[in-house]
Symmetry: C2
Subunit: 326 residues, 2 copies
């Protein structure tokens, strides 16, 4: 049995896979107090419960932020509360679980591997995975393999400039995609509009809480002007940045996932496809595909299991396929 864990800012999602595919899955809340050590305890508990009495062969973790794949150290994780310093997540988990092999990778990387091996990207050797959620991230598959890059940050689409001199990004620079197409950037903008007296359901629905993907979806359905404008801008800028990725990488397929994209559905992805085609050289848009991911929020955990399995086998591993399809 192999276990894959998607460690998110709000929840821990774990799957167990075997030769016949998916065996089980389990969710838990990510502890927000106590930092990395408490998170390790929570993951250990989820893994033990999921595995029953069995010792997993290996465990894969998809973690948000900057991950050092070789050592299992999470260098920075802005979306995890209290993770200010680099923390050896892989070694800590392995020790707590009796020495089992633990492989840690970036959440977007494992999500991309999942869509490539088990999801909408099956059968393609070159693809780009885009994840539109709180922020915007991307993962790169070239010649059938995940391309991490020397610093592990390949595919970092969220920090591509789409509007020179434009909105301030969370990273401090101006005009980055994430400021226009990430849920957090759109929420900031919606609250600014509201503070200036512009009416919008987005703020009415979210009130003092997080402006979730569902809030955006409901406001869009009601044709709320601010929501429509924000999503229009997100579509345009995503198309522009995705086209840049296609031109630079030469990939014929782009798979779009992430919480916001999943919630807004295929029509959102179809609009990104059209915007991408418009940014490419005339005629080239017809040769590429931009499609929704097919694994939803299970993708990260499944991808983590694949990455861990590949690491253990020393080869690419197809054994979790059937379950993911079932």
């Amino acid at each position: 049995m192999r276990v894959g864990v998607d460690l998110g800012g709000t929840k821990i999602f774990a799957v167990a896979t075997g030769p016949e595919g998916l065996i089980g899955e389990l969710k838990a809340k990510t502890p927000v107090m106590g930092g990395p050590v408490v998170v390790v305890d929570a993951i250990v508990e989820v893994v033990r419960e999921l595995a029953g009495g069995t010792a997993p062969e290996c465990i894969g973790i998809g973690a948000p932020g900057a991950v050092d794949f070789g050592t299992g150290i999470v260098r920075r994780a802005p979306n995890l509360k209290g993770w200010w310093d680099p923390f050896p997540l892989g070694p800590a988990l392995s020790e707590a679980l009796g020495g089992v092999t633990v492989v840690v990778d970036n959440d977007v990387n494992v999500g991309t591997v999942a869509e490539h091996r088990l999801g909408a990207g099956r059968g393609t050797d070159n693809l780009f995975g885009v994840f539109v959620g709180t922020g915007v991230g991307g993962g790169v598959i070239l010649d059938g393999q995940l391309h991490r890059g020397p610093s592990g940050f390949a595919g970092e689409l969220g920090h591509v400039v789409v509007r020179p001199g434009g909105r301030r990004c969370g990273c401090g620079a101006r005009g980055h995609l994430e400021a226009y197409a990430g849920r957090a950037g759109m929420e900031r903008r919606a609250r600014q509009h509201h503070a200036r007296g512009l009416e919008t359901m987005l703020v009415d629905l979210a009130r003092t809480r997080r402006m979730t993907s569902s809030v955006f979806a409901r406001a869009l359905e009601a044709r709320d002007k601010v929501a429509v404008g924000l999503i229009d801008r997100a579509v345009e800028t995503l198309g522009q940045a995705v086209a840049a990725a296609i031109s630079i990488l030469d990939v014929p397929l782009v798979v779009v996932g992430g919480g916001l994209a999943d919630r807004l559905g295929p029509s959102f992805v179809e609009r990104i496809h059209a915007a991408t085609a418009e940014s490419l050289p005339v005629g080239q848009g017809e040769e590429i595909r931009v499609v929704p991911g097919s694994l939803g929020d299970r993708g990260g955990a499944l991808g983590a299991a694949v990455v861990a399995g590949a690491n253990v086998d020393g080869v690419t591993d197809d054994r979790v396929n059937p379950g993911a399809q079932a």
Copy 2:
């Protein structure tokens, strides 16, 4: 002896290399009448003269446009007069030269390989090569290998959108880098300004002829306002697109070559570096290097020889290094 040929729109530049490095080089004009068949004759003549009585072990060609690396077919070559249809350049040359192995690749790819193996990118496994000339092209080295991509177009930086809805590119789309930073795009813009009554040395120097890189350099030295404005815009947009390539590929080094960049010199590249840093997440600019290419207009031919040699050996080949350094 290995021969590398850079087939350009105006000249054919060939080098001969051996175990000790560069043996000789030769230039000829690219025939503008008669299409591919006449160009093949011209290349054959250059190769025969350069090789003397010796039969080259292999020949590499860097060709402008869309090249099918596997078959040696040049699918499109807008910069070569009379090449409207796909032409089997590799097979035709091989036949004309008694069956010698001929490898054809895109000119930007061979230029990137040259800078990686023999030039400013030596010792680095991951880099992006940008060539600023008539147009703007790019080449990608990942994990020590040239990444061509499934359609052979990886690194196509010139068609990245840098100004949404902006200037019309040669390809028909709007706002592409090439319209702002390619010599041809800048010439078009300068002539538009002039036609509207704006004085500029650029048009006075070029008159009815091509606005060469030297014309831009001289107008810049004289602080011609139109030239300064065009180059400022080129620097900004190049920085923006180069930053996108860095974010998507995760490369710590960018080598800038090409006719215009070579002529404008290191200060131009230093400005592109600064503009790149400004587009990246705050702080990340300090971790990357953007440097001038070191091989000048000899790079393409040297790279073609390396690519042909690698193809013959089935391995990467270091034998041309010493000469290129000498």
